[in-house]
């Protein structure tokens, strides 16, 4: 398969994830859509690594996975903290994150 096809899948998934971030209001689903966008970047990185025959892109993808895991960790911690304080779980309602 040509590398082009993989990049098209990557672009499609990235656009879908961006649409999800813009339309959904539940922070859990917003985090899931961020995962989609990070994974789209991962496909592109690995496709380019295959294109050059160089495994360094795969290292980059692994680091992206680590960062995504950290982001999930912090994001879910925030969701749990919001839930504990009985604040609305809605990204429109919690624009002010202080306190």
């Amino acid at each position: 398969m040509n590398v082009n096809w993989y990049l098209m899948v990557s672009a499609l998934v990235f656009a879908i994830g961006a649409a999800g971030v813009l339309t959904r209001r539940n922070p859990l689903v917003v985090l899931l859509c961020l995962e989609l966008m990070l994974n789209a970047a991962n496909i592109a990185l690995i496709a380019f690594a295959r294109m050059w025959g160089n495994a360094e892109g795969q290292i980059f993808a692994i680091i992206v996975m680590v960062v995504a895991a950290c982001e999930v960790c912090i994001g879910l911690g925030l969701v749990v903290a919001i839930f504990r304080r009985r604040l609305p779980i809605d990204v429109d309602e919690i624009r002010e994150l202080h306190g």
Binding site: G17, L28, V29, L36, N39, A55, I62, C73
Partner: protein, 223 residues
């Protein structure tokens, strides 16, 4: 063969992504994302990234998604009715328009680039391309510093999650003191200890439920 596998996995990945965005229930959205991640792992295998594919399945589709499922179960999957108020129609249309524009732009950027190698399947690579041996070799020699920084990042994230999610008394949030007697069951309620002829559950060393001192989990609620 690889074409067929590519289209199956690619369509699966895109359908999973659409499912994440469209499904109302966050629990099903997580399941759709698991499907998406498994399809992506198949794509990674087609690109000869065996180690990344395995890490994707084990770490992402396994561990991270389990964390999601835990939090969804804790917070409650059903959205309160107030949240069902539709996002403004104009906002949704604008978001779709923006996403479409983003896709077109990315497609132009990819297809219009002068990289000739994009139209090929890439060079033939040796058999150990993307194997754990090669990845480990690169991670511990050339990319040692990013590797260590990533491990520190994980440590900081773990500490941060604990700090964020811990129970604390905020303003206007009185934590009611919990007496030890609240945990003790009345005698004769059929605990396992009584069943074998032991003393009743007023004893401080009851199995499980009747601990003498209030533990932290006691006041949580919701679990």
């Amino acid at each position: 063969m690889s074409e067929v596998l590519f289209f199956i996995a690619g369509i699966g990945a895109v359908c999973g992504a659409v499912g994440v965005v469209m499904v109302r229930n966050p629990f099903y959205a997580v399941l759709a994302l698991v499907f998406h991640l498994l399809s992506l792992a198949a794509l990674f295998l087609l690109l000869q990234a065996q180690f990344v594919a395995a890490a994707q399945v084990v770490v992402y589709a396994g561990a991270v998604m389990v964390l999601y499922v835990f939090v969804v179960a804790y917070v409650g999957a059903a959205e309160p009715p107030r949240l069902r108020a539709p996002v403004g129609r104009g906002q949704r249309a604008a978001a779709l328009l923006f996403a479409l524009a983003l896709f077109v732009e990315l497609a132009i950027a990819v297809l219009g680039s002068s990289l000739k190698a994009l139209d090929s399947g890439g060079p033939t690579v040796e058999a150990n391309f993307g194997s754990p041996a090669q990845i480990g070799d690169l991670l511990l020699t050339k990319f040692l510093l990013p590797f260590e920084v990533a491990s520190f990042l994980l440590l900081i994230a773990a500490v941060g999650a604990v700090v964020l999610a811990r129970r604390r008394g905020g303003i206007g949030e009185e934590v009611e003191p919990v007496a030890a007697a609240d945990y003790a069951l009345p005698p004769g309620v059929g605990t396992m200890r009584e069943g074998v002829g032991g003393p009743s559950s007023r004893e401080p060393f009851e199995l499980g439920v009747g601990g003498g001192e209030p533990t932290r989990e006691g006041g949580e609620g919701g679990w």
